[in-house]
């Protein structure tokens, strides 16, 4: 047996490894992300349940831990309905776009020192570009469904995501002023050496809040979930979707939440670095995961706490509060970096 491995299998593995290396690495990243998506839905229901003095899912499996898989199975077994007035190609294309965009962004996320699939120079711009494309899945879904609720949801979403992207861009610029590089690993390395070096402490603290609130709007989460406001629009842009296409929207939305939490972690919470130098013996990937979980808890907490914004209030917050504030901060941080030599 051992000879077969060393004589036949091992040389072949060595031979084909350069060809299968990237696909294997992609799987190593994607599978944990999808598992986290499954358990994010579980924790969302659990945490909101606890906040509302309920129990949350507790029937399927021990402590309800198999609930996400039961839900997934249920979705797969349902019938895929395509409305007769819909544009079938775009109708089916849009959930795929949402899902694929939520996954391709993970290519540049550094999980630990050197643990990154594509360590590109313009990593943060890549992330920004991919997250700005997310609106297409929603707009195309709303248009192709040929339904007024879906269309209204899509229009709201397009306006909302474009509005908040602007201030998100300016927040990223303030971080880039301090770091001096667009590479995500460099951004994390600039925050080494403990919690007092993280960008969330100090001059960028207000920008961290602006960024977090903008990510809420960018992922269409409560209190900015107007695109899917169930009280007025039934479910907004995915009202006509069922079964697998719906599951892809759902997975994409939650994978986007995790991605945005990861982006917040990288930009402001020190990425893979431990909060205190004494704790550096814990592997960086664990710190990274813990910080993402921390930010995600805020996503869920906010959902259980705040009522939904009215649409004009949402636009006011984006254009009249966040945009001037982040623009002023760009000038301020640029001045500080210029005069202190950054």
């Amino acid at each position: 047996m051992a000879e077969i491995f060393t004589d036949t299998i091992w040389p072949w593995l060595v031979f084909i490894w350069p060809w299968i290396k990237i696909p294997v690495l992609i799987l190593v990243i994607i599978v944990p992300v999808l598992l986290s998506v499954a358990y994010l839905t579980y924790w969302e229901r659990k945490i909101i349940g606890w906040m509302q003095l309920r129990k949350g899912p507790n029937v399927v499996g021990p402590l309800g831990l198999l609930q996400p898989f039961a839900d997934g199975l249920k979705l797969f077994l349902k019938e895929t309905v395509i409305p007769s007035g819909a544009n079938p190609i775009i109708f089916l294309l849009s959930p795929m776009i949402t899902f694929v965009l939520a996954l391709v962004a993970w290519a540049v996320i550094p999980f630990d020192e050197g643990w990154v699939l594509a360590d590109i120079n313009v990593g943060i711009l890549y992330l920004f570009a991919i997250s700005s494309l997310g609106v297409y899945g929603i707009v195309m879904a709303g248009w192709a469904s040929n339904s007024k609720y879906a269309f209204l949801g899509a229009l709201r979403s397009a306006a909302q995501m474009v509005s908040y992207e602007v201030s998100m861009g300016f927040v990223i610029v303030t971080v880039l002023f301090l770091v001096g590089s667009l590479n995500l690993s460099d951004i994390v390395r600039a925050q080494a050496g403990g919690i007092w070096n993280w960008h969330v402490v100090g001059i960028l603290a207000p920008m961290c809040v602006v960024f977090f609130v903008s990510t809420l709007a960018e992922t269409n989460r409560a209190p900015f979930d107007l695109p899917e406001a169930e009280a007025e629009l039934v479910a907004g842009y995915f009202v006509e979707y069922s079964s697998f296409p719906f599951a892809m929207f759902f997975l994409g939305e939650y994978a986007n939440m995790i991605l945005m939490a990861g982006m917040t972690t990288i930009l402001f919470l020190g990425g893979w670095h431990a909060p205190f130098p004494a704790l550096e013996f814990v592997p960086g990937i664990i710190w990274f995961a813990l910080k993402i979980a921390f930010v995600l808890f805020f996503f869920l907490w906010v959902r259980a706490t705040f009522p939904r914004y009215r649409y004009d209030q949402l636009m006011r917050l984006g254009w009249k509060v966040f945009l001037p504030l982040s623009l002023a901060w760009v000038v301020l941080v640029a001045g500080i970096v210029e005069f202190t030599g950054g």
Binding site: N121, V162, E165
Partner: protein, 203 residues
């Protein structure tokens, strides 16, 4: 190298094909979606020649912002497809002329490459100095040699923006506006009155 070549032909083919589909597609929304696909593949071509910063800017600015507004407007238009077809012959001469001009320009550029190949060295997508990244090289050029042109471009955009706002903004009478500062400044004393109502009579 074979992979790059294959990627180039893929991006180039899809870009050209979707460019054709932009003008051929019957439905304007499909046209915009093909336009986005063309942008995307051009970004891929930029990456292949080593201009990753421009590629990302193309995606962020054109695909992420401009085309979204485009799609937004086109989706809301109530378009009569038959009337749209009617204008085709009328616009054909103008369109053909623009096409010819573009073709002539392309011929000059490509022809220059064959006639005087020694000047080809001036055209390079990568930064001139090897130690600077694309982003740094572009920044250094824009903010030193071309700073006035850069500022002028900014001014043109600003004027366009102010013009758009002036053209579309209009004061409407009778619109209730929310003033958050006024709302926050309200105190219970001035907005709530506690009254004791005797039984059997109103306030």
């Amino acid at each position: 190298m074979i992979l790059q070549t294959l990627a180039f032909y893929l991006f180039a083919f899809v870009a050209v094909a979707s460019g054709v589909m932009v003008i051929v597609a019957r439905n304007p929304v499909h046209s915009v979606l093909f336009l986005i696909l063309a942008f995307f593949n051009s970004a891929g071509l930029f990456v292949l020649i080593g201009a990753e910063f421009l590629a990302m800017l193309l995606v962020v600015v054109y695909v992420g912002a401009v085309a979204v507004l485009f799609l937004f407007v086109v989706m809301m238009l109530d378009i009569d497809f038959i009337r749209l077809r009617e204008g085709f012959m009328r616009y054909l001469p103008v369109g053909a002329m623009i096409g010819l001009v573009l073709l002539a320009e392309l011929a000059v550029v490509v022809g220059g490459h064959f006639v005087a190949p020694e000047f080809g060295g001036f055209v390079s997508a990568g930064p001139v100095t090897a130690d600077a990244t694309n982003t740094e090289a572009i920044g250094l050029l824009i903010y030193t040699d071309y700073v006035f042109i850069f500022q002028a471009a900014g001014l043109v955009l600003l004027v366009a923006m102010v013009g758009a706002i002036v053209l579309t903004a209009r004061r409407r009478e009778g619109v209730k506006r929310q003033k958050v500062s006024d709302q926050n400044a309200r105190r219970p004393e001035e907005s709530v009155e506690v009254v004791k109502v005797p039984t059997g009579s109103g306030v």
